[in-house]
């Protein structure tokens, strides 16, 4: 592809006290591309996506978004750039309803200013319905507390929240971890769906079958370093596992 990548990470490093979480990681992602980010526990996957989502600032390195260098200082900045993240624990407010969660931080206001902004609940409910429908999610009782929904339904809400602003890059952290088997397919369909909308996608998973099912590329992290950047079609699960546990050194012949 000749187009500039959607996002580029150059030499990103991050420490927490004495622990090196990320060590000079380089990564590029293109629009419409799905990257599966894999690695053993503690490899640095969560930290890497948090750098992109604004939850952490890198100690060293540079981030380019749509060709320009950016500083992603906080979650709000990331969202403003068009980067949306769905965390493993979903970061939902269990006592709020579906529209409440989808619009958290971005509520539609009827009128008012300062501390007294009146919510436009009916409009938010209507838009929430539309968003869910457009994603192919069927959710009846919109007004129930999200804490009472099933794992898959909660996942849908979290993903809807991430995509309704038409972001450019979506990050999914272990999206299938808490799901029942039949709900997993649904998530994978969702990923396909997003891909066709030309959104860049990074998703972390431990389940290699899923990664192989949807990812265009597979990036392997180990102990804070990127040890492999592979095209899915050209590699195998065994190879990926070996990279994860360190049986093969960096080998670009697989790229």
């Amino acid at each position: 592809m000749e187009q500039a990548p959607l996002a580029e990470l150059h030499d990103i490093s991050k420490r927490f006290g004495g622990v090196v979480a990320l060590d000079k990681v380089n990564l590029a992602i293109n629009s419409g591309e799905v990257i599966g980010l894999v690695g053993d526990n503690g490899a640095g996957k969560s930290t890497l996506i948090k750098v992109l989502s604004g939850a952490h600032s890198p100690d060293r390195g540079e981030i380019l978004f749509e060709g320009s260098p950016v500083h992603i200082r906080n979650p709000r900045s990331a969202k403003e750039l068009g980067i949306e993240t769905v965390y493993q624990d979903l970061a939902l407010v269990d006592t709020l309803d579906v529209p409440g969660n989808i619009f958290l931080g971005r509520e539609i206001i009827k009128f008012g200013f300062g501390p007294l902004r009146v919510l436009d609940k009916s409009r938010m409910a209507q838009r929430a319905k539309n968003i869910l429908q457009s994603l192919g999610i069927s959710l009846e009782a919109l007004r129930t507390e999200v804490g009472l929904l099933s794992g898959g339904q909660r996942q849908s809400v979290a993903v809807s929240r991430a995509v309704f602003t038409e972001p450019k890059l979506v990050i999914l952290d272990e999206p299938t971890a808490a799901l029942a088997v039949r709900e997993v397919d649904h998530v994978l369909d969702l990923v396909h769906n997003l891909r066709t909308q030309h959104i860049g996608l990074i998703f972390i998973s431990h389940v290699l079958q899923e990664v192989f099912a949807v990812a265009d590329r597979i990036v392997v992290l180990r102990k804070g370093q990127k040890v492999a950047d592979l095209v899915t079609e050209k590699t195998s699960m065994d190879a990926v596992v070996n990279f994860m546990v360190g049986q093969i050194e960096d080998d670009d012949s697989y790229a």
């Binding site: 979650p75 939902l92 407010v93 709020l96 958290l104 931080g105 902004r117």
Partner: protein, 319 residues
């Protein structure tokens, strides 16, 4: 128990309890269901009820404010002291406004201190407000010299003894503030954030909402409510006493918890807090009417709260 009944009981059970209690009182004493007695109850509960608005919001955020009694007493004392220091020749209404505003400002500042120590200092609100409870009470003693400040004139007494029509002013104040608070929590963005912060403040943070200033503001608001109640008390007694509002924190928290708010945050409404406050006051009133001694009132209050919490726990199935 069928699921629907269970949820209904959780949401509306307390209203049922309230009505049942009224019926029981009515049966036990012919003096209960008179307009004058009911209006008395309303006035008696109005101060604790006002404080309970602020406390509800604080508890919704999964915090607590133990300093409410001391802040109320301090605000009342400052207002009282200022009224007495009115310079000659100034308009009475102007000076009263200044004195009352100063009292409210004291409450606001106290709440601000609470909020800053909790949010920026990272100290649990239980500890912070325990400290301000002590400091506040000490300041009251210092300011009053251990003696009550009394005698403020007719105009100031109107706050607690005036009427709008046949309804005592404290009841009007209480109900208006409750209405505003109910609308605020239910219909505004900030109101929603208060619930969200209590339920999952990390999620709120990740959603890009600046929750820290919100928390500090709500503590300051709670302090202001405490101050208003303290001024109402000073007007009611026509004196600011060093021992004023002692123990209010327990009654207020009891009202909020009885009203179904969760001490873990994220759940509760001011409407039910109001019902909770009334239930507690009804018990006091009823026991007085029936000539039951004060010890039993303490025991009754405590037992009712425990039983109510137990029922709530069973109904919500929380382990």
């Amino acid at each position: 128990m069928p699921e629907r009944w269970r949820i209904w009981a959780l949401d509306y059970g307390i209203y049922v309890v309230f009505v049942l209690l009224m019926l029981v009182m009515w049966q036990l004493s012919p003096y209960f269901l008179t307009a004058s007695n009911l209006l008395n109850i309303g006035s008696q509960v109005s101060m604790i009820a006002v404080v309970a608005i602020g406390m509800t919001m604080v508890i919704l955020m999964a915090e607590i404010d133990l300093s409410v009694g001391s802040v109320a007493a301090l605000a009342g004392a400052v207002t009282a002291g200022l009224i007495h220091s009115a310079p000659n020749g100034w308009s009475l209404w102007l000076w009263l406004t200044i004195a009352i505003s100063a009292g409210m400002a004291v409450g606001f500042l106290a709440g601000l201190v609470n909020g800053l120590f909790v949010v920026w200092g990272g100290i649990p609100s239980f500890i912070v407000t325990l400290g301000t409870l002590s400091i506040g009470r000490g300041l009251v003693l210092l300011y009053t010299g251990g003696r009550p400040i009394f005698g403020f004139g007719e105009a100031f007494a109107k706050i607690s003894w005036g009427h709008i029509g046949t309804v005592p002013l404290p009841i009007v104040i209480m109900l208006s503030l409750y209405l505003l608070a109910w609308l605020f929590l239910r219909e505004t963005q900030l109101g929603r954030y208060i619930y969200a912060i209590g339920a999952n403040k990390e999620a709120v943070d990740l959603a890009g909402v600046k929750y820290r200033p919100i928390k500090v503001s709500i503590f300051a608001l709670a302090g202001t409510f405490s101050a208003l109640a303290g001024i109402m008390l000073t007007s009611r007694l026509d004196s600011a006493q060093p021992t004023a509002a002692m123990g209010w924190e327990l009654d207020v928290i009891a009202a909020v918890v009885l009203g179904g708010a969760s001490l873990y945050g994220g759940r509760g409404t001011v409407a039910k807090t109001l019902v909770g406050a009334f239930i507690i006051q009804l018990i006091s009133n009823g026991l007085n009417l029936l000539e039951v001694q004060a010890y039993w009132q303490q025991i009754a209050k405590g037992s009712i709260i425990l039983i109510a919490l137990l029922i709530e726990r069973i109904l919500s199935g929380r382990r």
